[in-house]
């Protein structure tokens, strides 16, 4: 930021009826003089000008008492105005204070260039980055009152640290912290579903995910175990059945019957299989599915023939016809409305392709066979099933003809088979519960993720997704915390380092100004602390203030004008020369309000610089409220204000 003052305007302020103090060069109105020396006798309004400047740059709202204190006393008027023309980074701003003396109130007015919003606004409306820093205390550092230099040593009135932050751009690092918070907030909003944003929540999710993972491992182990058990149980049953058969087949008295039964059962099983397939194959033909279905299709076939469906005329016929000049009946197709009518007709007819499908359907049911009863086949199948059942029972009864010992054995085998079969049913149900993907089955048995592998996998995927999202957010949140912590450390460590530099540079400067080391800048802690071996005089504190301020502003990328009232009042001649030599080097724009008694020692030093204007302003007693204004250097140098007389 680079601020320069180009002009001060007064209207009906104390003794100023109308006064403009130009600070720009005639040749280039947007460039200020490097140095403007404004000589004004005490009582002319120097303090008024300084106070107004300090208020206007920071947008201070003045109280009634202060507003009224600016009202001219020597003549009557109701309104006053104080304004400045500023150039900030190449943009012109006009800032004004309107005073309403009747009501004791004031209001601001800002005119801005088009490029930065343009127009006029009836408020203090400098760019936000300037408004934010222009506090009353900050303005005291560059709108400076030499007579009150002790203020800079007063911890209530200076803001050394805040000023360092601003002048060295460290306040922008605070802005980075805010931006990081915004990023985090957006991230949280975008992962609203997860709702887990804390380390604690994340740990909980991780525990849940771990538990599910373990469950999945356990369920798979169980499945494997049940499957093995199922295979071995089936094998056992098979072995037992074989054993049972052996028991019967090896017994001579029942051997023949046993073999007969077994063969018959096997042949019946064949018959059952065949019968089933025959019925199934017949049912696969819709017209043979049932009498009702056969009737229905016959009806449809008859209807289609009766109604001449599909009609031999296709929609294409009408479409083609609509393009002809003459209808098939010989009448001419004269206009679009007739064409439209014909095309409407087309929509009511099947297209040629449609007709093909319809003809296939029609053909499939045209010469349909009559329905053949399946009752015989059904009854045969049923009798095979019954017969098989009876044979199995008969085979089972054979064991009654075994001797007692073998009978016992057979009974034991039977009981064991029953037991194992029941186990097998249970095992298969367990297996199915574990591995089924069928949602109807899962619902029927109210299975959950701790009982079914498929549900567990789904839950795990879901949980992982949430976990990924959450850990992303939580990690980012931790990153933001670290980032902010680093920023804080960098800011405070930068301030410390810059303070060290400021102190050592300032002290070099102090000894240069004073020619001794009687006064030393000790530390900057909110304000600056000075260690004076023999106490600190007013002159010494002024020198310290110059040394500190010049160092503070020298290295900052921000450039502000330095405005000073009574710059060397309490300094001795030697220090005055040093100050006048030093200050112009450090500021791009220097505005000095001075009284004639301060010229000695100070103006001579300044005189070495080229880009200087000499203004003399004093009350012209010949006319009330009239102010005399001179720009002549010679006049400036010879002016004596103490007796307020003009000496030419």
């Amino acid at each position: 930021m680079n601020i320069n003052l180009l002009k001060l305007d007064f209207k009906n302020i104390r003794d100023f009826r109308e006064l403009t103090i130009p600070l720009f060069k005639e040749k280039d109105v947007n460039t200020p003089f490097h140095i403007s020396l404004i000589q004004m006798p005490n009582g002319t309004g120097k303090t008024t000008a300084i106070n107004l400047l300090r208020s206007i740059v920071c947008g201070e709202i003045l109280e009634k008492e202060i507003v009224l204190s600016y009202q001219p006393t020597r003549y009557k008027c109701d309104e006053g105005y104080f304004g400045v023309l500023l150039i900030i980074d190449r943009d012109l701003y006009s800032l004004g204070m309107h005073f309403d003396y009747r009501n004791g109130v004031m209001k601001y007015e800002t005119s801005r260039p088009k490029e930065v919003g343009g127009g006029k606004s009836f408020s203090y409306d400098l760019p936000p980055y300037i408004r934010n820093v222009m506090t009353k205390n900050f303005t005291r550092l560059f709108v400076f009152d030499g007579e009150f230099s002790e203020n800079i040593l007063d911890n209530k009135k200076t803001e050394a640290e805040t000023s360092i932050k601003f002048l060295y751009f460290l306040d922008r690092l605070e802005l980075l912290k805010i931006k990081a918070d915004t990023l985090l907030e957006n991230k949280r909003k975008s992962t609203k579903d997860t709702k887990v944003h804390t380390q604690q929540g994340l740990t909980k999710l991780e525990t849940e995910e771990k538990k599910l993972k373990q469950t999945l491992v356990d369920l798979n182990k169980q499945l494997k175990k049940f499957k093995e058990e199922s295979v071995s149980t089936s094998q056992e049953i098979e072995d037992l059945e074989k054993k049972n058969d052996e028991l019967l087949s090896e017994n001579e008295t029942i051997q023949a019957e046993f073999i007969e039964f077994t063969t018959k059962i096997s042949s019946l099983e064949n018959d059952i299989r065949n019968g089933t397939n025959i019925i199934l194959n017949i049912l696969r033909t819709p017209s043979q599915f049932s009498l009702k279905m056969n009737d229905k299709l016959k009806n449809l076939s008859e209807n289609m023939s009766k109604l001449k469906l599909p009609r031999s005329v296709s929609s294409e016929f009408f479409k083609e016809l609509s393009d002809e000049d003459e209808c098939i009946c010989g009448r001419p197709i004269l206009n679009d409305s007739i064409k439209k009518k014909i095309l409407e007709k087309a929509e009511q007819y099947l297209a040629a392709d449609h007709i093909t499908t319809t003809n296939c359907i029609k053909g499939s049911i045209r010469n349909m066979d009559d329905y053949k009863e399946l009752s015989n086949l059904r009854d045969n199948l049923y009798s095979y099933i019954n017969e098989k059942q009876q044979l199995i029972q008969a085979k089972d009864l054979l064991k009654l003809r075994l001797d007692e010992k073998d009978q016992e054995k057979a009974e034991k085998i039977k009981q064991e088979i029953i037991r194992l079969s029941s186990n097998l049913v249970d095992l298969n149900l367990y297996i199915q519960s574990l591995e089924t993907k069928n949602s109807a089955f899962q619902e029927e048995f109210s299975l959950n993720e701790y009982e079914n592998i498929n549900l567990c996998q789904k839950k795990l995927i879901e949980k992982r997704k949430r976990l990924d999202e959450a850990s992303d957010t939580v990690n980012f949140s931790n990153g933001v915390s670290l980032f902010k912590k680093m920023m804080d450390n960098i800011i405070s460590s930068s301030i410390d380092k810059i303070k060290e530099d400021l102190i050592s540079k300032s002290n070099t400067r102090i000894s240069q100004l004073m020619g001794n080391k009687d006064v030393v800048l000790e530390k900057i802690e909110g304000c600056i602390y000075v260690d004076g071996k023999k106490g600190v005089s007013q002159g010494q504190s002024l020198a310290v203030a110059y040394a500190f301020l010049s160092t503070l502003f020298e290295d900052s990328p921000h450039k502000v004008p330095f405005i000073v009232d009574s710059p060397v009042g309490s300094l001795d001649l030697k220090v005055r020369r040093e100050v006048s030599d030093l200050i112009p080097k450090l500021f791009a724009q220097l505005i000095v309000f001075i009284i004639s008694s301060e010229r000695n020692g100070f103006v001579e030093g300044i005189g070495k610089y080229e880009d200087v204007q000499f203004l003399t302003i004093y009350k012209d007693e010949r006319e009330t409220g009239s102010i005399a204004f001179h720009t002549d250097k010679k006049f400036f140098m010879q002016f004596h204000s103490e007796n307020e007389e003009v000496q030419v």
Partner: protein, 152 residues
């Protein structure tokens, strides 16, 4: 456009279904057909939303020859259900059910109706036959309800 069956129906048929087995239903379309024909026969349609599982997009090889008869059955059942008899109405019905551009020659409306007849047919089966373990027992009971329901 697909042929769809409810998971509930798949679960019901699980014991008598087995690919490559000679005493079980070989393809899922058998289950679909078994339900479909009872639905046609009884002109009962069910809830489309219950058909949550896709079986196939086309008629399987085993049913290719019967596909026009199946479509005819759909048309006949819809004529019954809608109670229509005029040429124009029947033609409109065909226009909405058939689509010569579709691989099945059925429009999406045609598919939707088929699936609804399947859902309706399954309701009848579920009410009348408890789950069985053997295809032959199922078939006897299926035939019996076919006769009984048909005679009602």
């Amino acid at each position: 456009m697909t042929f769809r069956l409810s998971n509930q129906a798949k679960s019901y048929f699980k014991n008598i279904f087995g690919k490559g087995s000679d005493d079980k239903l070989d393809i899922l379309w058998d289950e679909y057909y078994i339900c479909l024909m009872i639905g046609f026969s009884e002109v009962k349609i069910g809830d489309e939303a219950s058909a949550d599982s896709e079986i196939t997009k086309t008629f399987p090889q085993a049913y290719k020859d019967q596909r026009y008869e199946i479509m005819a059955s759909l048309i006949a059942s819809e004529i019954d259900r809608r109670g229509i008899s005029k040429v124009k109405d029947i033609e409109n019905l065909m226009l909405s059910i058939l689509d010569h551009n579709s691989s099945t020659e059925l429009s999406s409306e045609g598919h939707r109706l088929m699936n609804r007849y399947v859902a309706g047919g399954f309701e009848i089966i579920k009410e009348n036959i408890r789950e069985v373990n053997e295809l032959h027992m199922f078939l006897i009971k299926y035939y019996d309800i076919l006769i009984n329901v048909t005679n009602e």
